[in-house]
């Protein structure tokens, strides 16, 4: 039963052709069988999952099931799950059992989903390769010598290898879309404020946003519908109605105006990816959409702007890990500052420390205006460019990543080259817009992702376009070899 989409499982469950317990058992079996090779899970909760499955089965038997009742999902280990280890892939939180439930988790619980386990990630979501994990790197199911992308590498990997039909993830600069692209699955970063951040461990508060990774746009729509909505516990959550994402999937895309920013087709972009996106655009044109050029002239500045803002926010957000109330404490501190410095020095990995250092620097006296304030001004420039472009078109289509999955270890020693892997995704976070990455081809056996960016709170439109594309193609149905179903 692995390999079924979430929508198919949902139908089979309600037809009572299969039970949640059977599905969950199968997921757990696959997780245990393949995790050694893929390392996509930090924790698995078999007992808890089977209990939840049993409860779901009785709800189904009582005829009270919703579309997600009994569906197994994996959660990125960045979401607080009450009573379960929540590590953020950091030594700092290796022994942290969350004492409360993240809002997105509570919403998915209420919808009847079953939590299989918590997925691996870059430590505190900082990274683009999932190599910055205290629990070791995750492998790409298409080539285990390659990275799955990051930071939600574990979630993308688990869906790609068909261990779970869908998973939750978070995206600060591309952390849902880039791993989805590199693993050949569908990943949606919603509009900033669409999904509550309460209980989602913060990396960069003004950029972080939770969302789903799934096999198809339809599955992503089902999950997003349940995760979304205003949360009084999150002051940045948007009090905007949640659309019925499923209803919109089948809307006609004739007359759809697609913008293509030439700035994204740089020399660094691998040719097969450029070709795949061009081919996809032709296909959409055949379906009745029109394609026009749009300008996003300051795209090249999005990486510097992103690293200033994200690092500044992270340096402050991660100050709470001081060894006093929770998390790692160094052995035998000789005084209070020794406790702070060594607990943090030991508890955080290299990339986290690097970003804390950069963030501390750009906020410090004498540098604030030149770096932080400058970046915030440019953030407005970048956002306004998107707004202007989206006044002309309904969606913007770009490649998700300039390259396909790169070999493990190939960029880890060079932070700047690693940062540049996010060149096509970070500006969307800076603007707070929604965007989806969907499979759009292959290059040398590795998946290619295409990004569709929409206007604020137009997730329904994105999912509609993605779904229509997936009706015309089968890239999303290709399954990596070696993870027999």
């Amino acid at each position: 039963m692995s390999g079924y989409t979430l929508a198919e499982l949902s139908r089979l469950l309600r037809e009572r052709a299969i039970s949640s317990t059977e599905i969950v058992k199968s997921c757990l079996e696959r997780a245990e069988r393949h995790n050694g090779a893929l390392n996509c899970f930090i924790s698995l909760f078999p007992e808890h999952a089977l209990e939840q499955a049993k409860a779901a089965d009785s709800i189904i038997a009582a005829g009270k099931a919703g579309p997600l009742t009994g569906i197994p999902v994996a959660h990125k280990d960045i979401f607080c799950t009450a009573g379960f280890k929540t590590s953020c892939a950091s030594k700092m939180l290796d022994s942290f059992i969350a004492p409360y439930q993240a809002t997105a988790m509570a919403k998915l619980d209420a919808a009847g989903t079953v939590m299989i386990g918590k997925t691996n990630m870059d430590e505190f979501a900082m990274g683009s390769s999932n190599e910055n994990s205290f629990y070791g790197p995750v492998s790409n199911p298409w080539d285990t010598e390659r990275v799955p992308g990051g930071s939600s590498g574990g979630s993308a990997c688990a869906v790609s290898a068909r261990i779970v039909p869908a998973a939750t993830a978070t995206d600060t600069g591309g952390s849902i879309r880039q791993p989805a692209a590199l693993c050949g699955v569908t990943g949606l970063k919603p509009t900033y404020g669409r999904v509550s951040r309460y209980g989602m461990i913060a990396y960069a508060s003004s950029l972080d946003q939770g969302g789903p990774i799934a096999q198809t746009a339809q599955d992503a729509a089902m999950l997003l519908g349940s995760m979304s909505g205003f949360d009084p516990k999150d002051a940045t959550s948007a009090d905007v109605r949640v659309d019925n994402y499923l209803d919109a999937l089948n809307n006609d895309i004739r007359g759809l105006k697609i913008g293509v920013p030439r700035e994204y087709f740089t020399p660094e972009l691998e040719q097969p990816i450029s070709d795949a996106v061009t081919a996809a655009l032709s296909l959409l044109e055949q379906a009745g959409a029109s394609v026009i050029d749009v300008e996003l002239p300051h795209t090249d500045l999005s990486i510097p702007v992103y690293y200033v803002i994200a690092s500044a926010e992270c340096s402050s957000n991660l100050s709470r890990y001081d060894g006093v109330r929770f998390g790692h404490r160094c052995p035998e501190p000789k005084d209070i500052n020794d406790l702070f410095c060594r607990s943090r020095g030991e508890g955080f990995g290299d990339e986290v420390k690097r970003r804390i250092m950069i963030g501390t620097y750009v906020l410090s006296e004498g540098y604030y205006d030149a770096y932080y304030l400058k970046a915030q001004r440019l953030r407005r420039v970048l956002r306004d460019e998107f707004r202007a472009a989206l006044d002309l078109v309904d969606v913007i289509v770009t490649p998700t990543s300039p390259t396909t999955a790169f070999p493990l270890g190939s960029r880890i020693g060079d932070p700047v080259s690693m940062y540049l892997s996010d060149i096509f995704t970070v500006s969307v976070n800076l603007a707070g817009l929604p965007a989806i990455s969907i499979p759009a081809g292959f290059s040398a056996g590795l998946p290619i992702g295409m990004q569709i960016i929409g206007n604020y709170f137009q997730e329904a439109r994105l999912l509609n376009v993605a779904h229509q594309y997936q009706q015309m193609t089968d890239w999303h149905k290709r399954i990596p070899g070696g993870w027999q179903l």
């Binding site: 979401f79 607080c80 929540t86 953020c88 939180l93 942290f96 969350a98 004492p99 409360y100 993240a102 951040r197 309460y198 209980g199 989602m200 461990i201 913060a202 960069a204 508060s205 003004s206 009084p232 516990k233 999150d234 002051a235 940045t236 500044a312 926010e313 340096s315 402050s316 991660l318 100050s319 709470r320 890990y321 001081d322 006093v324 109330r325 929770f326 209070i336 500052n337 702070f340 501390t360 906020l363 410090s364 006296e365 604030y368 932080y372």
Partner: protein, 481 residues
Amino acid sequence: MKWESVIGLELHVQLATRSKIFSGAANRFGESPNTLACAVDLGLPGVLPVANEEVIRMAVMFGLAVDASIAGQSVFARKNYFYPDLPKGYQISQYELPIVSAGRVQIQVDGTTREIGITRAHLEEDAGKSVHEGFTGSTGIDLNRAGAPLIEIVSEPDLRSAGEAVALMKKIHALVRYLEISDGNMQEGSFRCDANVSIRPAGESGLGTRTETKNINSFRFVEQAINYEIDRQIGLVEAGQEVIQETRLFDPDRNETRPMRGKEEANDYRYFPDPDLPPVVIDNDYIESVRRQLPELPEQKQQRFMETYGLSEYDSSYLVANRETADYYEAAVVAAPEQPKLVANTVMGVLSASLNRENLDIKDSKVSADKVGNLVIRIADGTISNKIGKQVFESLWEGGGDVDDIIEKQGLKQVTDSSEIGRLVDEVIAGNEAQVQQYRNAAPEKRGKMIGYFVGQVMKKSKGKANPKQVNLLLAEKLEK
């Protein structure tokens, strides 16, 4: 050389909300450690702050009361530093865009009124407490206070003496209590003061190097600390040394300030707008709705007391100094509407003395306002004398009861029957022949003084109940004969 001191205050006032500024935990004092610290207060991974609307209302109310401008958009910022009782490694405060700015208040010192500028007032969260006593080699951290709402009120360096500083502090203290936005309890730390002090040669306009003395929690200590600082700085400069810009602590046991240890290094707080909290947007309608909630403020009340009750400036200013006293006074006047002045005397006299004696707040007075009113009526209508009035007040204070019952039961009614008084006068004249003779031999201008002796004797015989005016008149008449 003659020196002038330049003083500005920062007052940290805890707001009297039910819940904390960014969480739903109770904002209370004196509970078992860490029982009032919820996930948000502890800064657990993943939690988010949401601002309490009541805190915003209170800040706007304060701003209106000091005639300040209210920011249409105010921004919460993070002040980053590590401290064991600061859970998140940053304090949420306001930095560039505070909610209140450019206000003013008036203070009276030695009969002169001065206007003191209020630079700004901003909202912030309090930190927890570090407890050193009872832990050997370690410190205990209690985060019950973490997240308690504070408004920090910053004055312009307009103050020129410790006396003025105390007057400002008292003024703000009265104001926040009038507005009912803080209990102003200094023992519990709800009202704390940092004093910035510098000196300069009198008449100059430049500013000297200032020191900041932190966390002073009584009016008296503020006066002592500032005076100590002024003297210390003058001493330094006159000895050819320099004042160092630093943070100091006041030690009330030794009546001195000394540099704060542990915080000597220059801090770089790396303020930036808190990305978890969008700006607080306040429109004019909201400001006007808060303005309508404003109670009568001390100056307005004083004006009214002078006009309506005919009180002197001194009496009225005493009575409005805090809202409870003013309310008590007015409640007593309701019971004795014809006698506002006499009521004022009673409140400022016997009542105040009794409260001071037992160190009680007026709200805990053992004699209610309406009884003070009843008592005043009985003095005014001549039922009892002023002196007996004090006695009745003491009875009320000690044992409660009703004014008329006490007068009746203790037989304190003033004797106004002139034949009864005449009998007593006759007895005194008969029993003091020598003094009577002396009186009669004395020059008329000296007699006025001498009659006091006979009045005293008659009052004594009447156990204080005789009407002193009548006694005087009758004595004067009968001694002439």
